[in-house]
């Protein structure tokens, strides 16, 4: 039979649904991004600066949580069914987690966007990190909890599919794509404990007024317990595509299956015991614990550096299969007219640059120069904003036809779109890094101050702002092109095989990788031990300092409405 939608029509319907949610969020989130890029550079200010933070919260949550994770939910469903060569065990369970995650995400979005309409009395302008004691409406924390629980159910769905497959194939190696999904989900189960405990035990009861106070350093630390692994939760779908799809698009095959497994195991082990590297500047956590987090972080560079090797080697192999020769001339033999290939290759290139700026962030002392400056969003727009987002968009050009049985509306527009994204991000991200070095803060509606100016080592603040606004504009145009291309594709007539969806076996196959790599219980056990080692003492000392529930009352972000209510009551 022809393609994924013909083989697994029910699974394809779920994947299409998750992609619709992902792409709607992408559209809204990108529009918010454009508003921010123009607002904070002073070019166009259509909103009051107070509302900037509503837009910023929406941008962060819709893009970093909703777009990326719904794409992941669809991609992983596709990858599990495809690589196990069987449908999911019970499609009702699949629709149930889709329903729960979508409801949760919708509640969160409503709580955030309601902030634009003051008369509703609901606000969640607490940004993506929702640091207490800033307090959002309970709807925000409740929706977030539903969303997380929904992702846990999705993981259970994929593990049940694996168990059913294992019963029929007791001696086979776990297919590579399923292996990637399962290790990623194990990492996710471990790391979301932090945010779930924070939301369910502390923030939700506190926002309802059941408990009066909160320990801000505790909830902040629990957030980062989840907040760094979540970046790998975004990145692993991109890695899955780079390892299993990109080599094929390049005209070849994956260089090494064993090394791919090693990389995913390393991410399972090291993603979580590093969160404190986001808290280098926090009082109340000793330097020793920060140093441990830094050491783990630096070793977490290893799987990404190994990935760089494998991806480039696979591309070179593909190019040589297509007749490429020489030391560098083979680059010209790659299929640069294919938007799926070019988008992923450019995303990988920018990830290398983002990796280097990440090394600066990870350096415990040099971090002081750039902490909470515009450098940081400059960094993560290269990583999650390009390595992940551009790979997902480029991958869609190859995946969506398999889910609909219809060809892509326009490959040239797709090519223009991915190149535009890359160019836009070069302008915006480079300027953000440089502005950060000058001390310009992130998360600020108007980085202009009364009593001092910023001075740049090179160029001027005006030039940096022009680059940020221009880059942001190109990125928005790129998203619009992407969404129209996907939308118009849905009006194409169905065809037998809209895209070549076969994936060739790796050069070094699974038979060459040690069996122990597939021992998921072992790796999960080690991952848990590493987390206990990294977190027991810091969390213990934070709780000893101020107690589980701390001393901080809530500071609702909706100050005006509270004042209004008091007047009404009086």
């Amino acid at each position: 039979m022809a393609t994924f939608v013909d083989r697994y029509p029910e699974e394809a319907a779920v994947v299409r649904a998750t992609f619709v949610v992902a792409f709607v969020s992408l559209g809204i989130g990108a529009f918010f991004g454009l508003i921010q890029a123009l607002h904070r550079t002073g070019y166009v200010r259509i909103l009051d600066s107070v509302d900037y933070y509503t837009i910023l919260t929406g941008h962060g949550v819709l893009l970093a949580l909703v777009f990326t994770i719904f794409f992941l939910l669809g991609l992983f469903t596709w990858a599990v069914a495809r690589s196990l060569e069987r449908p999911l065990p019970d499609i009702r369970l699949t629709w149930a987690w889709f329903g729960l995650t979508t409801t949760g995400a919708t509640l969160v979005a409503v709580a955030i966007l309601a902030g634009l309409i003051p008369s509703l009395g609901v606000s969640a302008d607490v940004l993506y990190t929702f640091y207490a004691p800033l307090q959002a409406h309970p709807l925000f924390y409740a929706g977030l909890t539903m969303f997380i629980v929904g992702t846990w159910m999705a993981g259970a769905d994929w593990f049940l599919a694996y168990r059913a497959w294992r019963a029929d194939n007791p001696d086979d190696r776990i297919p590579l794509q399923t292996f990637m999904v399962l290790t990623t989900m194990l990492m996710w189960y471990l790391s979301t404990i932090g945010v779930a405990v924070s939301a369910v035990f502390f923030l939700l009861p506190w926002s309802f007024g059941i408990v009066e106070t909160v320990n801000p350093l505790l909830t902040r630390t629990l957030f980062w317990f989840f907040g760094h692994p979540v970046v790998y939760f975004w990145l692993m779908p991109a890695y899955l595509l780079w390892y299993t799809v990109l080599p094929k698009l390049a005209g070849g095959r994956l260089f090494s299956d064993p090394l791919a497994r090693v990389v995913f195991v390393l991410f399972l082990l090291l993603s979580t015991p590093v969160g404190i590297h986001h808290q280098y500047l926090d009082p109340g956590i000793s330097e020793g614990f920060k140093f441990i987090a830094m050491t783990n972080t630096m070793f977490l560079l290893l799987p990404s550096l190994l990935t760089a090797f494998t991806v480039v080697a696979s591309m070179e192999h593909g190019a040589r299969q297509r007749g490429g020769e020489g030391y560098f001339k083979w680059l010209g033999a790659l299929p640069w007219r294919d938007p799926a290939f070019t988008g992923m290759a450019l995303a990988g290139l920018m990830f290398a640059a983002g990796g280097f700026s990440g090394m600066i962030n990870a350096g415990m002392n040099i971090n002081y120069l750039i902490h909470n400056t515009l450098w940081v969003p400059g960094h993560f727009h290269m990583t999650v904003g390009t390595a992940v987002a551009l790979t997902m968009m480029a991958g869609s050009y190859w995946l969506v036809p398999q889910l609909t049985g219809k060809r892509l509306y326009s490959r040239p527009i797709g090519l223009l779109q991915v190149v535009l994204w890359f160019v836009g991000m070069v302008f915006m991200s480079n300027a953000m890094h440089r502005a950060g070095l000058a001390g310009v803060p992130r998360r600020t509606a108007e980085p202009q101050y009364q009593s001092f100016d910023f001075s740049t080592a090179l160029g001027s603040v005006g030039e940096l702002q022009a680059q940020i606004a221009f880059g942001g504009f190109l990125l928005f145009v790129s998203v619009v092109l992407f969404l129209f291309n996907i939308l118009l594709s849905s009006f194409e007539t169905p065809m037998e095989s809209p895209v070549d969806d076969s994936l060739p076996a790796p050069l070094s196959g699974a038979e060459g990788s040690p069996l122990v790599l597939d021992d998921l219980r072992l790796w999960t056990g080690i991952a848990i031990v590493l987390v206990i080692l990294a977190y027991t003492l810091p969390l213990g000392s934070i709780v000893t300092d101020a107690g589980l529930f701390g001393d901080s009352p809530g500071f609702p972000v909706l100050i005006d409405a509270v004042a209004m209510l008091k007047e009404v009551v009086a």
Binding site: E287, T373, A445, D551
Partner: protein, 171 residues
Amino acid sequence: MEIHAYEKFWLAAALLLIVGLIATVSYGAVGAGIEMIGDEGGTVDPEALDDHPKFGDPGVYESGEDEYDVYVVAEQFAFRPGTSDPIEVPANSTVTFHVTSADVIHGFEVVGTNANTMAIPGQVATFTVEVDGPRDYGILCNEYCGSAHHAMEGTMEVVPEDEYDGPEGGD
């Protein structure tokens, strides 16, 4: 497990980079003496800052010859001192900052320097800087703290030693 020769070389280079990065930070901390924020500052009740011997009366205190302690309270949307009165210290002195918050989480960043910390209610961030020649610095809040976050700023004035008229601890 089959590992290609180039892969082994790459793996070794990657490990060298990682160990090198950790070594530079370790050298920075032990050799060059770059101070970082830990848990030395202790804790404080954010609801009772007014009763605190220093945060109840924040400002600059002399702690030794050419050594000063600066107690700063960050609150929505000002630094005390810093916003309405600048933080004033003499040139060529050693200044230890003690920063806390009276309400939500704030940032305290001396613009263009690595004097940068989070201000977390209940916790005191303590760090020491060497101040050189006379100069004015901007201070800003670099953590979102509410609707007027972008207006939260202050100044620090490093004045020549002979023009310095003593700490105003509790201005």
